[in-house]
Symmetry: C2
Subunit: 394 residues, 2 copies
C-alpha cells in the first residue's frame, strides 16, 4: 500500500429537504456575490433555478447568471464566465447541474484568481495557487465532481480534452436532492452508473492490492451500483434507489476508494479522446473501452481481476485459475453494461467503426504526440493505445 | 432513510512518511503559536514529541507544551490548558496521542474561544459558536476523534462523563503513521477495535435500514476490523494490519457509516457511566455492555440483527427465523470479544459484580436523574437501563 492523503472538505447536504439550505450555505461559505452557472433549459423548467434565486434573495445575496454549459464543457464558456465574474465582482460560483457544469464552474473559479489564460493549468504550463470558492447543487450523479479535486475542460481549438487536479477546486458544499434525478433518462442514468463504476475501478485495478479496507469499501460501492443501476432504470422514481446511485457517485470519486492505491485511469484517458473527437457521452465511451483495456492488461495482475469478479460481480471462484475467473468477470461486466443499455465497443458507441486515421489521431493526442504514456497497472505507450482502440473497434 | 449532512473537513495524511508534514500542516492551517498537548511519558520516550518539536522549529512556529492527559480526560486538565493557552497567546492546539488527548484538546479549543466555563457546553447550558483550530498526530486508533465532531470530558466533581458534539471541533488535519501503533499492547489494541466496531454498530442498529450503500460500507468496515484485530494482536508489527485498524478507526466515527441512519448510541451512554464510576477502559466497557443491550432490544428489529450476523460475522442465514440468526450473531460477537481478550460482562470487566446501589447510581446519572431517555432503536428509560446493567452483571 501507498501513503495517502485524504481530503474531502465538501459539506454535503443530502436529501429531500436539502435545497432549503442553499442560501444559508452560500452565506456560511463566504459568498458575497454569486455567479449561478448552469447548462440547458431543464434547470429553468424544473423550477430549480427559481428555487436557487429565491434562496439567495432570502439571505440578501446578489447574483448574476450564466447558462449554456454543454456536455464536455468548453473553454470558450469558461472564458465567458471568468469575464462576466470579473466585470460583476463575483466572488462565489454556484454550479447547478452535473459534472460538466461543475467542471466549468471550477475552471471559472481558477480563472478568476489568475491573470493569465486558465488553459495554462490544463496544458500543464503552470500550477494554480488560488481559486474562488464554489458550491454545487447536483442534478446528475455521475462524474463525482461535487466532491472531487478534478476538472476536465475541452479546448475547441484542436479539440483537446484535458484534466487538471488540484484540491483548491474542491467544492465548499454540495446540495443533493435525489428527487431532482427522477427525470434523468435511462441513458443518462446508465452513463452515470458507468462513470461511478469506472472511478472506483480505475483506483481498484492497481498493483497496490493490500489495502484491505479500501478494497472492501470499493467492492461494496461497486456491488451497490451494479445492483441498483438496472433497478433504478426500471423504476426511475424510486427514492431509495436514486439515493444509492447519487451518493455512490460522490464517494466513487472523492478518493475514499483510492486510499492506499495508485490509480490507473488509462480507460479515462483513452475515453477522453473518444468523447473529444466524437462528442459522445463520457459514460458510454468508458463502457466501450474498458472491456478491451481489461483484456489487454489482465496478465499484469490476474488475481486482482479475479477478486473483482468474485467480490463485485459474484462470479464463482475458479480456484485452479485466477485468469479464468478474471475473464468471466470481464464478460460479466460486459453483460452488466449491455443490461443497462451501454455499448461495449466503438462500433456500438458510434454506429460505425472508427477509421484507422481516427484511431491514430486519438492515440497521438492521448500520448501528447507520442511523448507520453498513460496508466499504472500497465504503462501504455502510443502503440498500446492504438492496439486497445483497435480491439475496441472490432 | 433520513436526510443527512456529511462534513469531514479533516485533511488526513496517512503513512510511514506522514510525520514529515507536521510543520507544513500547522502552518497551512493557520497555526501561529501552538500548544502541544499530550498524555503520558510514551510520547516523549518514543521520540514523537521530539519529532514534533523539530518540525515546528523548522517552520519557525513557537510552542508551549502541556502533558498529563489521562484516559477519560478530566475537566481540570482542560481548565489548565485553557489558562496556559490564554497566558501564552496560543492560537492552535496540537494533540499528540489518542482519543483522550484529542478530546482534551477539543475542549481547550472551545474554552479558549469562550468567556465562561467550558463545562457549560457539556452540561448543555449553552452552545459553542467558535473554537480554535486543532491538529492531531494520532497514536492510538480507537475513538475516531481525529475526524469526528465529538468530544467527551469527565467532570471530577461528581464524576459525570459528558459528550458534546459540534462540527467546530473537527480537527483541521490528522497525521497517522501506523508504525507509531506497533507498541500498543494487545489490550489497548483490542479496546480500540471494540470502540471502532461500536461506533459503526451504534449507527447500524437503526430503524433506518434502507440506505443500502451506507450498510454495505459499514458492513465492509466491520468485517475488516473483525478479520484484522485478532491477527494484529498476534502480529503487532504488521504494517498492513496496523494500517487497516488505524484507518478503520477514523472512518468508523467520521459519520461515513451513518449517512442516512439515526444512530442509537445507548451502549455508549451506558458505558460512559461505567468508565466514569470505575475508570475502566472505554472499549472494554463497551464489550461488557453490548451483548446485553443487544439481547434486550433485539425484538425491535430482528432482521437487522440477522443481517449483521450474516453480512458481518459470516453466520449462515437461518431463513426460517431471523431471530435465531440474530441470536447466533450476538453469540458470535461475544466469541469475537473473548478472542481478542475483552470482557463480555460487568463481572469480567471489574473482577467483581457491581452492587445494586452502583447500578442504580449509574442508571440515575445516565438518565440525568430519571428525567431523560437514551437510545433510538429502542428508547430506554431509567428502568430499562437498570435492567440492562443487571443483565450485564450476571
Amino acid at each position: 500500500m501507498k501513503d495517502f492523503h485524504y481530503y474531502t472538505p465538501t459539506e454535503v447536504v443530502f436529501g429531500k429537504d436539502s435545497e432549503k439550505e442553499i442560501g444559508h450555505l452560500v452565506k456560511k461559505h463566504g459568498g458575497g456575490k454569486v455567479l449561478i452557472h448552469y447548462g440547458g433549459k431543464s434547470a429553468e423548467t424544473s423550477g430549480l433555478l427559481d428555487t436557487v434565486r429565491r434562496q439567495l434573495d432570502a439571505v440578501g445575496i446578489p447574483f448574476v447568471e450564466l447558462g449554456g454549459v454543454v456536455p464536455n464543457p468548453v473553454l470558450s464558456k469558461v472564458h465567458e464566465g471568468v469575464q462576466i465574474s470579473k466585470n460583476e465582482n463575483v466572488d462565489f460560483i454556484l454550479a447547478v447541474g452535473g459534472g460538466s457544469v461543475i467542471d466549468s464552474a471550477k475552471a471559472i473559479a481558477y480563472g478568476l484568481a489568475y491573470d493569465g489564460d486558465v488553459w495554462d493549468f490544463f496544458s500543464k504550463k503552470t500550477e494554480a495557487f488560488a481559486a474562488y470558492p464554489i458550491g454545487v447543487i447536483l442534478t446528475i450523479p455521475a462524474a463525482g465532481s461535487e466532491m472531487s479535486n478534478g476538472c476536465v475542460i475541452t479546448n475547441e481549438e484542436g479539440y483537446s480534452k484535458r484534466a487538471y487536479d488540484n484540491d483548491l477546486c474542491r467544492p465548499r458544499f454540495a446540495v443533493m436532492n435525489p428527487i431532482r434525478t427522477y427525470t434523468l433518462s435511462a441513458y443518462q442514468t446508465a452513463c452515470g452508473a458507468v462513470d461511478m463504476m469506472m472511478h472506483t475501478m480505475e483506483r481498484y485495478f492497481s498493483h497496490d492490492d493490500d489495502m484491505l479496507l479500501t478494497d472492501a469499501i470499493a467492492e461494496s460501492l461497486m456491488r451497490t451500483v451494479c445492483e441498483c443501476a438496472p433497478k433504478v432504470i426500471a423504476a426511475p422514481n424510486d427514492y431509495i434507489l436514486r439515493s444509492q446511485i447519487m451518493w455512490a457517485g460522490s464517494l466513487a470519486h472523492n478518493n475514499l476508494t483510492g486510499c492506499g492505491t495508485i490509480g490507473d485511469f488509462a480507460t479515462h484517458m483513452l475515453e477522453h479522446e473518444l468523447s473529444a473527437m466524437f462528442n459522445v457521452a463520457h459514460g458510454a465511451g468508458l463502457a466501450a473501452i474498458w472491456p478491451h483495456w481489461a483484456e489487454y492488461v489482465l496478465s499484469e495482475n490476474p488475481t486482482r481481476f479475479a477478486q473483482f469478479a468474485v467480490n463485485v460481480l459474484k462470479i464463482a471462484n475458479n480456484f485452479r485459475s485466477a485468469e479464468e475467473t478474471a475473464r468471466e468477470g470481464i464478460e460479466a461486466m460486459k453483460i452488466f453494461y449491455k443490461k443497462i443499455g451501454m455499448p461495449t465497443s466503438i462500433p456500438e458507441l458510434l454506429g460505425r467503426k472508427a477509421t484507422d486515421d481516427e484511431i491514430r489521431e486519438m492515440a497521438d493526442k492521448c500520448s501528447l504526440g507520442r511523448t507520453s504514456t498513460i496508466g499504472h497497472l500497465k504503462i501504455l505507450s502510443y502503440d498500446d493505445m492504438v492496439e486497445i482502440y483497435n480491439m475496441a473497434n472490432r
